[in-house]
Symmetry: D3
Amino acid sequence: MFTRSAGRAPDQLRPIRITRGYTMHAEGSVLVEFGNTKVLCTASVEERVPPHKRGSGEGWVTAEYGMLPRSTHTRSDREAARGKQSGRTQEIQRLIGRSMRAVFDLKRLGERTIQLDCDVLQADGGTRTAAITGAFVAAQDAVNKLAAEGKLIESPILSPVAAVSVGIVEGTPLLDLEYVEDVGCDTDMNVVMTGKGHYVEVQGTAEGVAFTRAEMDELLRLAEKGIGELIGLQRQALAQ
Amino acid sequence: MFTRSAGRAPDQLRPIRITRGYTMHAEGSVLVEFGNTKVLCTASVEERVPPHKRGSGEGWVTAEYGMLPRSTHTRSDREAARGKQSGRTQEIQRLIGRSMRAVFDLKRLGERTIQLDCDVLQADGGTRTAAITGAFVAAQDAVNKLAAEGKLIESPILSPVAAVSVGIVEGTPLLDLEYVEDVGCDTDMNVVMTGKGHYVEVQGTAEGVAFTRAEMDELLRLAEKGIGELIGLQRQALAQ
Amino acid sequence: MFTRSAGRAPDQLRPIRITRGYTMHAEGSVLVEFGNTKVLCTASVEERVPPHKRGSGEGWVTAEYGMLPRSTHTRSDREAARGKQSGRTQEIQRLIGRSMRAVFDLKRLGERTIQLDCDVLQADGGTRTAAITGAFVAAQDAVNKLAAEGKLIESPILSPVAAVSVGIVEGTPLLDLEYVEDVGCDTDMNVVMTGKGHYVEVQGTAEGVAFTRAEMDELLRLAEKGIGELIGLQRQALAQ
Amino acid sequence: MFTRSAGRAPDQLRPIRITRGYTMHAEGSVLVEFGNTKVLCTASVEERVPPHKRGSGEGWVTAEYGMLPRSTHTRSDREAARGKQSGRTQEIQRLIGRSMRAVFDLKRLGERTIQLDCDVLQADGGTRTAAITGAFVAAQDAVNKLAAEGKLIESPILSPVAAVSVGIVEGTPLLDLEYVEDVGCDTDMNVVMTGKGHYVEVQGTAEGVAFTRAEMDELLRLAEKGIGELIGLQRQALAQ
Amino acid sequence: MFTRSAGRAPDQLRPIRITRGYTMHAEGSVLVEFGNTKVLCTASVEERVPPHKRGSGEGWVTAEYGMLPRSTHTRSDREAARGKQSGRTQEIQRLIGRSMRAVFDLKRLGERTIQLDCDVLQADGGTRTAAITGAFVAAQDAVNKLAAEGKLIESPILSPVAAVSVGIVEGTPLLDLEYVEDVGCDTDMNVVMTGKGHYVEVQGTAEGVAFTRAEMDELLRLAEKGIGELIGLQRQALAQ
Amino acid sequence: MFTRSAGRAPDQLRPIRITRGYTMHAEGSVLVEFGNTKVLCTASVEERVPPHKRGSGEGWVTAEYGMLPRSTHTRSDREAARGKQSGRTQEIQRLIGRSMRAVFDLKRLGERTIQLDCDVLQADGGTRTAAITGAFVAAQDAVNKLAAEGKLIESPILSPVAAVSVGIVEGTPLLDLEYVEDVGCDTDMNVVMTGKGHYVEVQGTAEGVAFTRAEMDELLRLAEKGIGELIGLQRQALAQ
């Protein structure tokens, strides 16, 4: 069986930290840490919507994702300098956006946009799942601010949402992969769930060999456990 | 219960057609039709590899995806004219590439590239799953051509691979969604499986409400049935 | 004298096929075949005009052109992936657009746009002339649809238009060059004419040695013959 | 009959000036003026060739074209700021490059490149034909410099080349259109010919109504006359 | 002590020429020459303002800068072909724009834009300072034209503005560096001043070794002398 | 006289914090804080040089700069999404690069590159000067690491370097402007100096009215005081 660093059990999350109010300008600003993975998630409220929502009475929630060039082991090119976002970046920011919209009632939000920016300061595996988990807290802070200003009748947030990665490394199903585990894994799955234990996204990929139904079931079980804990930690952070 | 067009049963594929040799220049050229969805899949062999594979003794398999501007109900902008591929396009072509590589032994392929181009001539839902299903047949034709030229010792293809979409529409789980079903569905899942019945990719998304484990199980069952049939049809097409 | 494939005479067109209704969404959809050259031409009607026509009471007719990456002998890069259209692509789509506008009364069209998309599925020389010939039929179908919906008082189409290439290969003037002829030709000329036998475009280029006035006269004679036949075939196709 | 400005006859060129050595760094630097149209043509020699000519023993001749933003009546956007060259720009620079290569023996040039830059300082119609006429003189100066340095065995230039526009304005065929004539013309033709009176390029376009064979013949006659005179003026300029 | 070409004294400008009306379309068109450096500066008036000024009652003054590809010793790539302006180009055009706005009262200009285009025909050092010096004259011509048309109540120009480079070469402080001096200098400073002798911009850069306060004082003294002379020459040019 | 926030004296820096080892992957990683301005500066060592230094025996030091979208009061567009870096961004990163190279002996560095990335987490004025001050500390850490690995014979760093902004607000010269001061200032100057008190860069800009020599002298005096203190704080941070 695969041995994890720091004596971590296969079904154990890394130490999680959720720090609200990390920067001062944004309506919501959260530093989320999954072990050494650190992502700054900010929520910005804009009193306008993109063209496809204009006049609809509905708002919009969307996300962008980026990695600082030296958030990784070896420096990667700055996307702004290269002049375009990679396919991976676009895939991740679309995932974060869909995950947030899955728990938002856009009618209740009114014709405004919540823009979530998830910037990876330090990467050690699981940046997209950390981003989703942190972005939800930033979004909740932004919604609370709108509510405090009397701009909302009812909260547009229907449920919390969080995400975690799971995977099979040397035959062992593991929760919350860190970088060295991610590199060596045969199957990698990102799961996004609501506070009610329902699925928002399931994205499983066979990196090496195709995986069986039994393996998928075990991975889903691990993910459910991890997400339950993450949602508890989000609640704690928001209660402070 | 939701009634499908043409009296189709919930667990029934649309009429599938796989036409090999559709165009004359490519090493593999397949027109795949899932009902009204028509995708031209070509496989091109190039005797070189991208930089990250040079000198490795291994080959590479990759894919690009595009839609003709008027393959859809209303014309969409030509990506070449806009100057960039959308996030959706990149997501789909990355999915096709990973799906193909999952059944390829890159060492056996040798230092050459198989480039799969999947271009949608007419869209009616399920273009990405049709593309994967057709691209496999085009790739097999290209491999057969290499083998006939004595360039391969063993076939680099380990298994067939095919894909299908499944989803829940008005509470009914359905196999192989067409466009009107896709637009109205609550949950949408694309599943890629090998000929051995193992998973290569599972991508489930809650479009409206989050979905339960029981719903996911039912969707996976439908997908398994559909992919089994598709792999049979690929075999028939390749036998001709 | 140069011998053509399939015993074709110097002043003979390749077998021409014009298939209407090739795809289902577009207002006009034509597959045009000049021998092995196959171009899908679709006409899309949009109830708006570009900025320079707004409020003018006039419509607009424009074209875009593309080649599928493996429509050619060796795969060419996808323009959407490279992020820009080549000079050749732009030159061809400007030519198609001008050729269509030459037979359109934009006032009679009203403030709407007909967008012609010409996508080469298989290339064997003469793709731009096939595109013009097919695009006219697609445009006529779109106009007929508008007329049937009562949106036009008079037909905005003043005349048919078609195009053919001519060239001098090893001293022999030839009509409708296929790829192997095009590669070896000294002079290459694309001619666009109306149903009345008038010129819309003449583009002659000395590939190797400059050409004489006598050679040009012979090429124009061949082109006139070929275009007369093509306009007859357009009429037949539209009569069905 | 249409009356031209400054009492110009229909078959008369505008005053032509060809100034060599206009700027100091380039191997050839020519300011060419066709009336108020002023184009700076420089020839730069580079001791390398583009990839498709490497190791071929042959050289390359190519051209780029640009307009200063306020060379025109109303300012046009700077292409460098917009981030791409227009289709018109690309079409023109491809035409200039082909015209120059038509009179060059690339083998005799050896593996080096002559890059022609044609920048319009002031536009009043006919910029592309002025550019070709001036670029030839700049290219000849660059070749003379190479010859003086002992780098060439034989001159790679086979013949002079020049270009002129012709057109039909209010029924009158005219030589060398200026801007107000170009705007109002029904047919516009650019002709490029060698010193031997052979055609390199003929590009005729019906702006309004399609043109007849008789009209084309008259335009070609005017062009031949004009180009003969331009080649005489090139010779005079080079003799100084 | 460093010896300058043409026996120029350390505190002496190169021969300066300011030619108004250099091209015919622009509202102001000035060829400015600092020795062999030649920059064409045009001023274009547009009766609209950029979005951030709309409805403000204020106008806008802005600048763009470019170098013709062969204005330099060795040909540099055309920015329009590369698809973007370099950092150096942007830095220079921002500097020219700020320098012009420093002497403009945008309220008096009214809601219109003066666009200055500075294109280097021939470069021999000091192109940005020549551009500022020439652009002011072009701007004044455009303002005079607006005034003559009765479109201005008061002149929006508060003062002339001019610029010069200074630097330390082999220990000697020099005024108005030409290319060979610029290449070898330790410190390079561009100074922009008004007619009242006040500073608009000071940009000093240590190319090799950092410079002392005493050196800066000497450079500022030289710049002040040179700009005084340049403003006199602007006045002379405008008086003609 | 202008009153500063938090009772700050006109010649007083904001509270400065320099935190080394802020992220774990980079060879140097420094969070620098000038009051509420927070910039993460990382130094990455790469064992290769850009083309213009290959084979020279010399290394290279360069910088990139970016702002997180919500580091500012209102969210600004992500440059990676817009597809290009603004002129401001390029100007700043060129300034940082030049400032670092001014204190580096590139021969002693050997053929390797130190890439400095300065990313603004929170902006409150003075981000470029904070970036230079922090980047130096990160660069020193990277050099120390190279030295510890035995890869350097002598330190390539010749002197510390730091930067500060100064400006005139409502007639009062101020050191180290924060955002509200920067917005309202008449003159803004960024000064970069070495540990020996020599100038590397002086960039003064009249935002509103042109400034006098006496004002410049006072600003330079303030800058010298501030930079002296910053270099002391860099030394303290590096001593820990």
